[in-house]
């Protein structure tokens, strides 16, 4: 008998062990070091075809200027008051492109793309952003190595409370 629920038993025994199959079914995340990337590979040319079919309506031709935001950095940065944040100028890790598209896009058919399609789209968007050459094959090996210009900008939060405004 415990008088306080803070003094907990070592284990309550509720729930059930997760099998490897159960974990794999949901473990879709991709880390910056590439952990989580599936087999397969993609190239920009194939990605463009998929993009034009499934993404262009929301994100614009070439990933620029769609109703749901640009994904590709434009060169008219000087002209617009504030440069639109895109994969090319704001995303610190290339792996996030794969991870996010696979989990959430296209917005109206989430989770409907094959891994192969996601690799192609990733290659296309990286290439359109001039982060890779248009011939570069993107796979579990190459994707984590793509150098993202924004990465050097990212710093962890240093607000700490106290009198200082940060």
């Amino acid at each position: 008998m415990l008088s306080d629920t803070a003094q907990l038993p070592a284990s309550f025994g509720f729930g059930r062990p997760a099998t490897k199959a159960e974990i794999d079914r949901w473990d879709i995340d991709v880390r910056p070091d590439g952990k989580g990337l599936p087999a397969g590979a993609g190239v920009a040319a194939k990605g463009k075809i998929i993009f034009d079919a499934k993404c262009v309506a929301c994100h614009g031709a070439g990933g620029i200027g769609g109703p749901n935001g640009s994904l590709v950095t434009t060169t008219d940065g000087e002209k617009s008051k504030r440069t639109e944040k895109t994969i090319g100028n704001y995303w610190p890790y290339a792996t996030t492109v794969f991870d996010y598209i696979r989990r959430a896009m296209p917005f109206n058919q989430p989770g409907s793309l094959t891994n192969e399609e996601v690799y192609h789209l990733t290659a296309y968007l990286l290439s359109a952003n001039k982060l890779i050459d248009e011939k570069t094959m993107i796979d579990a090996k190459s994707l984590p190595k793509v150098i993202m210009p924004a990465q050097k900008l990212f710093v962890p939060d240093d607000r700490k409370g106290g009198p200082e405004v940060k």
Binding site: F14, D29, D157
Partner: protein, 385 residues
């Protein structure tokens, strides 16, 4: 005209024959509606959130006290509100743990539980630009509930989180499969796997049947419709912690900015309310993601002098706290505003201070002092900043 003022089946049957003219007179001469299975809201109360495609703002100017009615709790989602059968919903915890486990919601309810009243605020909670903004428009992406659930630390112990685990991924079961990386320390400290809100199951818009709740942290990290926790030795750098929920600060990009800075707003008087000459109880809410509110000051002379407001008990950790300040208005044009100080000694800054400190005029985590213009005719207008 026939009216049905009490909107349940009984009310519609009993009261539909009552002519409006009788109600004008004397409700004591009209038999009332018998007790029902569910209470109702008076049709005279027009309480609505203000929705956009991606969020919906709480009507702060219409809310009393510290609890937000659950159906008025702000919303922000990235893939819409999913329809989840709670009997089928499961939570997986895996990665750097001794025992990967799967819990049904019913399993989680068997663990020791905890309740706490705390605010939840979106870090994108600031708008300005025109005088006809209400508190709802300016910062309606904050709400407060009593959350009930199991401490995440209890589940961490159950699964045996390994010592080298420093971050965990929280993933939702919505169409966005929302993901955020959270330091494991927060999980041990005060994170809750919440299944209830204000006495009942979570509302669908707040994550039914299960959400993460991280007291004091930006709302997006309290992942809704939670279905997976993966323990890791590094953050996952998801889209919501890189492309979004990061902010430019002096040429850099600030990332993992979790804490919600202390903030306050006067909700009465505010646009579109009007005031009359004489005594006015200025009312508002103040809160801090870093602990308790220790002081709220009010200025009724456009910031020249500041006076302590009364705080309503109980003053809770990381919770909206109601404040009040009694003011005699003589009819002169002026500006009123509030500023809060939290237990770390942080005082809510002006917009000018924020812009100076960050070198940016916008982005996440803007919590400036908010002023209302009081016009000689009693009109109250926001002062854009």
């Amino acid at each position: 005209v026939a009216v049905a003022l009490v909107q349940n089946a009984h009310g519609q049957t009993l009261q539909k024959g009552i002519p409006q003219s009788d109600l004008d007179d004397d409700p004591t001469k009209v038999p009332g509606v018998p007790p029902g299975e569910l209470g109702t809201r008076s049709p005279f109360e027009k309480l609505l959130k203000d929705p956009s495609a991606t969020s919906s703002r709480s009507p702060l100017q219409d809310i009393y006290g510290m609890i937000t009615p659950s159906d008025l709790h702000f919303e922000r989602n990235h893939g819409g509100v999913p329809a989840i059968d709670p009997a089928k919903h499961e939570l997986l915890i895996h990665g750097l743990v001794e025992k990967p486990l799967i819990f049904k919601v019913a399993d989680l309810k068997r663990f020791p539980s905890v309740s706490r009243i705390a605010f939840l605020e979106c870090s994108g909670n600031f708008r300005s630009g025109k005088e006809t903004l209400r508190p709802q428009d300016i910062c309606g992406l904050t709400s407060q509930s009593e959350w009930t659930g199991v401490k995440l630390s209890t589940i961490f112990r159950e699964a045996g989180v390994k010592p080298n685990a420093t971050w965990f991924l929280a993933e939702g079961g919505d169409a966005a499969v929302m993901t955020r990386s959270i330091p494991v320390k927060k999980g041990w400290d005060d994170a809750i796997l919440a299944y209830a809100q204000n006495g009942e199951a979570l509302r669908p818009e707040q994550g039914y049947p299960l959400r993460l709740f991280l007291p004091g942290w930006e709302g997006n990290t309290s992942v809704k419709w939670l279905r997976r926790l993966e323990l890791s030795d590094q953050p996952f750098m998801t889209r919501e912690e890189t492309s979004k929920y990061t902010e430019g600060v002096n040429g850099k990009v600030r990332q993992f900015s979790f804490d919600m800075d202390a903030r306050s707003i006067i909700t009465f008087p505010s646009y579109p309310q009007r005031v009359e000459k004489g005594w006015i109880e200025i009312r508002g809410i103040a809160w801090s993601g870093r602990g308790k509110v220790v002081r709220v000051e009010v200025s009724t002379d456009a910031g020249k002098s500041w006076h302590p407001a009364a705080l309503q008990d109980p003053i809770l950790d990381k919770a909206h706290t109601a404040f009040r300040y009694l003011w005699q208005w003589k009819g002169d044009e002026t500006e009123i505003m509030s500023r809060v100080t939290d237990e770390t000694g942080y005082t809510q800054p002006t917009m000018k201070q924020l812009v100076e400190a960050r070198g940016e005029t916008g982005g996440y985590h803007f919590n400036p002092i908010t002023a209302w213009q009081i016009k000689p005719d009693g009109a109250v207008l926001f002062k854009p900043i």
